[in-house]
């Protein structure tokens, strides 16, 4: 798989939101990926990371110092804005609703997980369609593969971390078995893809 050093302008213009899902080994993966997001990122970044309840509230503290972009815990009814990173809060599902705005729920756990990657990905696929990039990273359960399939069905771009490069490959293998992955990339390759998601500039519009 070749490294997507710079996304083509049509991808840059196309992607309005990135959803990422991970569990075990996810923090280490995100420590590589999130710092790669440029200051002028043209997409909103929404993340579900499974952690035990008491730990996950620390996510913004861990990642804020590593990122150029503002990092926060998602709030219910908050408008989604490009160039921001949102984490699902502990023990709540995170969804994207019309607006687009963020929505939370305490519905039943999915794959024993709340927040669930499937819930985020499916709701975001509904809102963003082809303008969504979905990424499944290191993890230890089946959550995420149904969500990634929903992203693909809606015309979004789907990426799965290469199993050999994942600390815990169970989740990415499950996603690959689901057959919805368009690209299978190493962490540095995913970082390069994210690094290329600059907001489209007027020059691109003239070219198009």
């Amino acid at each position: 798989m070749s490294t997507p050093a710079a996304a083509p302008p049509d991808l840059r213009r196309r992607i309005c939101a990135v959803v990422m899902g991970a569990s075990a080994g996810g923090i280490e993966a995100l420590e590589v990926l999130l710092p790669a997001l440029p200051a002028d990122t043209g997409a909103a970044v929404l993340i579900v990371l499974h952690l035990r309840r008491e730990r996950s509230s620390l996510l913004t503290e861990i990642f804020s110092p590593l990122c150029v972009l503002p990092v926060s815990e998602a709030q219910d009814k908050e408008p989604v804005r490009a160039g921001r990173v949102y984490f699902a809060p502990p023990d709540y599902h995170l969804l994207v609703d019309r607006g687009p705005q963020l929505a939370l729920s305490v519905d039943e756990p999915v794959h024993f997980s709340r927040p669930s990657i499937d819930v985020l990905f499916e709701s975001a696929a509904d809102i963003y369609g082809p303008a969504l990039l979905g990424i499944i990273l290191s993890g230890a359960n089946d959550d995420g593969s149904a969500g990634l399939a929903a992203v693909r069905r809606a015309g979004g771009l789907t990426v799965v971390q290469q199993p050999d490069s994942a600390a815990v490959p169970y989740m990415v293998r499950a996603a690959l078995r689901g057959g919805a992955a368009e690209l299978v990339l190493t962490l540095p390759e995913i970082a390069a893809l994210l690094g290329s998601l600059h907001a489209p500039d007027p020059v691109d519009d003239n070219v198009a």
């Binding site: 219910d76 009814k77 969804l95 019309r98 929505a103 729920s105 519905d107 039943e108 709701s123 509904d126």
Partner: protein
């Protein structure tokens, strides 16, 4: 242009409203759609239009659907720090009233009601309190009134109870029988369980405390504001409003009417001039 599935969603909630007078029209669409999709699969339907057809003609199907739309499985003393704030900051002020009325709005299967009743008993307040426990789902209300929970959930409840500052042991309040924990009837002697909709009904009493946790997140912003307006009207001046740990008044038209008494714990007090 609306997607077909969005059109179907809208038509289905309209049909439910016209046929059964349950109003989901102002619920937040993402969660509503997710719940309806799960119900659709359970009902063996391929589309929400098929669900609509069934629901219009068969009240039993509607009862099933209502559970998917409304039942929240909560925990006793969920978010222990919330109950700690009620105990340490709110109860001392409630004690100054000769009689108390408390409203648990959207009580579902009752976990929150029993948590509050236990807290009030330990603070010596239960005997002078009337708790209104309301929900739109009659079956959930029945389960709440029964006060019987799966014994497998009790360990989690007990852990929460201790962290919430419980003064004895949770086992003082229930009897375990086979796989069930049956909560002490005397806890609900002061509780009135009643059918009430935050979307379509009005205020029925003046109260000193309202606890409404993880209900407003399912409403759109307009319905949230409507419900908060009801709460504002029902509360006495300086009365208390407790919300879920991720619910805020920040985006609400009623934000100015309340102040948060402990940052991040989502316990608000109605201002003296509101």
């Amino acid at each position: 242009m609306l997607e077909t599935s969005d059109i179907e969603l809208q038509l289905l909630v309209d049909a439910i409203y016209y046929r059964y007078r349950f109003d989901f029209r102002a619920y937040a669409p993402a969660s509503l759609k997710r719940r309806l999709t799960i119900a659709m699969i359970h009902l063996g339907c391929q589309t929400l239009s098929q669900v609509q057809d069934l629901v219009l003609r068969d009240p039993e199907t509607f009862t099933t659907l209502l559970d998917y739309l409304t039942v929240q499985v909560s925990e006793m003393f969920r978010d222990p720090s919330y109950y700690r704030v009620l105990r340490e900051r709110v109860a001392p002020l409630l004690r100054t009233y000769p009689s108390l009325r408390i409203w648990v709005a959207g009580c579902s299967t009752g976990e929150e009601v029993y948590s509050l009743a236990i807290l009030l008993r330990e603070e010596g307040l239960l005997e002078r309190t009337l708790i209104y426990a309301t929900d739109i789902n009659a079956q959930a209300l029945q389960r709440a009134e029964a006060g019987i929970y799966d014994v497998a959930r009790i360990a989690g409840f007990s852990e929460n109870y201790v962290r919430a500052g419980g003064r004895s042991s949770l086992s003082d309040y229930y009897v375990a029988a086979f796989d069930r924990a049956v909560f002490d009837k005397s806890l609900r002697r002061q509780v009135v369980f009643a059918d009430h909709s935050l979307a379509t009904d009005s205020v029925f009493a003046e109260v000193q405390l309202i606890s409404c946790r993880n209900v407003l997140i399912y409403f759109n912003r307009e319905l949230q504001d409507h419900a908060l307006g009801l709460f504002r009207e029902a509360l006495v001046l300086r009365g208390f409003l407790g919300l879920g740990s991720k619910e805020s008044l920040r985006f609400s038209a009623h934000a100015q009417a309340f102040e948060e008494i402990v940052p991040h714990e989502r316990v608000f007090q109605k201002r003296g001039n509101a």
